[in-house]
């Protein structure tokens, strides 16, 4: 069993892109988490930057809140900008 705290790892794969969640790992502190992330997730040139966040510091929405959080948006399709005629030249 691993008694070290859990860290979430975010890697930016190329300059100009966002950091994306790539996985998690155990480490004693932030410095060690960065090193472990370097060895675990970037050994095949997957990244140019790493963020680590202690998992316990993340506040996550809860599944039982899904009805009130997300379902109200389901019948409000007008919030998508799909009711416009877009000129072909825009090539969207």
């Amino acid at each position: 069993m691993n008694l070290l705290p859990l860290w979430e790892v975010f890697v930016r794969t190329r300059r100009g892109l966002d950091h994306k969640h790539i996985g998690s790992l155990h480490a004693a502190d932030g410095a060690q988490a960065l090193q472990a992330a370097r060895d675990t997730y970037t050994r095949r040139q997957e990244g140019v930057s790493i963020w680590v966040v202690e998992a316990s510091k993340i506040h996550a929405s809860q599944f039982e809140d899904n009805a009130s959080f997300f379902e109200p948006a389901e019948d409000k399709v007008y919030r998508h900008p799909t009711f416009y005629d877009v000129p072909d030249e825009l090539n969207l």
């Binding site: 691993n2 070290l4 155990h26 410095a31 060690q32 090193q35 472990a36 370097r38 060895d39 675990t40």
Partner: protein, 249 residues
């Protein structure tokens, strides 16, 4: 033996034998993240060994390849430092050995980047990036475990006491080192020692560890005289090529 060949061969042997030892942890490290990191670093050493042994092969006239040098030499023909071949012990011992050798490699490869041997300088330019990471990683562990719990402190101190006598060999200059430093191929071991001691003493003190008294230095690796652990290491490492000569995949 020509001294330039011997100088590069020794470095190749250090990388190969240490890499082999580190790889023994693969699948057995204390936890998964550490397992991956240790295997990663082991591969850095094996990769370095390939470059150094290939280069060594071009410096003698026997046309031996990296594989010939790695797998078809006997114990007395290996010239690594004894510290590299010592059994892995517990994880405290592994990390302590790792840190002391990483700190040595850091200063060695920093200087080798300006070697008059262009190939060696190029190898060093690659190796120094790896080693900068290695020494940061192992150095952090020295602090964490040395200045950690009672048990981790005790184990790190035991490891330090056990391995310390093998560190003198890292800086014992002989005619090969003198040749290398006189030709600008390699650094002066004495200057190397001063840099190493400064780093290592600082780190060990920060880790609340007691630096052992000057003790009888244990050496022999560079004369091909090894510890009892070396034969078994070679038997495992060379088994395939010895049993199935010329085997390829």
């Amino acid at each position: 033996m020509n001294k330039h060949f011997q100088y590069v061969l020794r470095m190749g042997d250090n990388a190969l034998i240490l890499g082999q030892r580190m790889s023994e942890w693969c699948g057995h490290s204390p936890f998964l993240e550490e397992d991956i990191a240790m295997a990663n670093c082991a591969l850095d050493h094996v990769g370095r060994a390939r470059m150094l042994l290939t280069h060594a092969g071009t410096l003698e006239d026997k046309r031996r390849t990296e594989d010939d040098l790695a797998f078809l030499r006997d114990e007395r023909e290996f010239f690594n430092f004894l510290i590299c071949e010592l059994p892995i012990g517990d994880y405290a011992f592994t990390l302590m050995r790792q840190y002391l050798v990483d700190a040595y490699h850091f200063h060695l490869y920093s200087r080798l980047q300006t070697s008059s041997d262009g190939v060696l300088a190029a190898i060093a330019a690659k190796a120094i990036k790896e080693t900068t990471y290695h020494v940061r990683r192992s150095g952090d562990w020295i602090i964490k475990l040395g200045d950690g719990s009672d048990e981790s402190h005790r184990r790190m101190q035991d490891a330090l006491d056990e391995v310390w006598g093998y560190t003198g060999e890292l800086f014992a200059a002989d005619e090969v080192d003198d040749f290398a430093s006189s030709k600008g191929i390699g650094p002066d071991p004495h200057a190397l020692r001063l840099d190493w001691e400064r780093d290592v003493f600082d780190k060990l003190r920060a880790a609340t560890l007691r630096i052992p008294e000057e003790i009888w230095p244990i050496s022999g690796g560079r004369q091909g005289v090894h510890t009892e652990a070396m034969g078994a290491l070679l038997a495992e490492m060379q088994f395939l090529q010895r049993s199935y000569p010329g085997l390829n995949w």
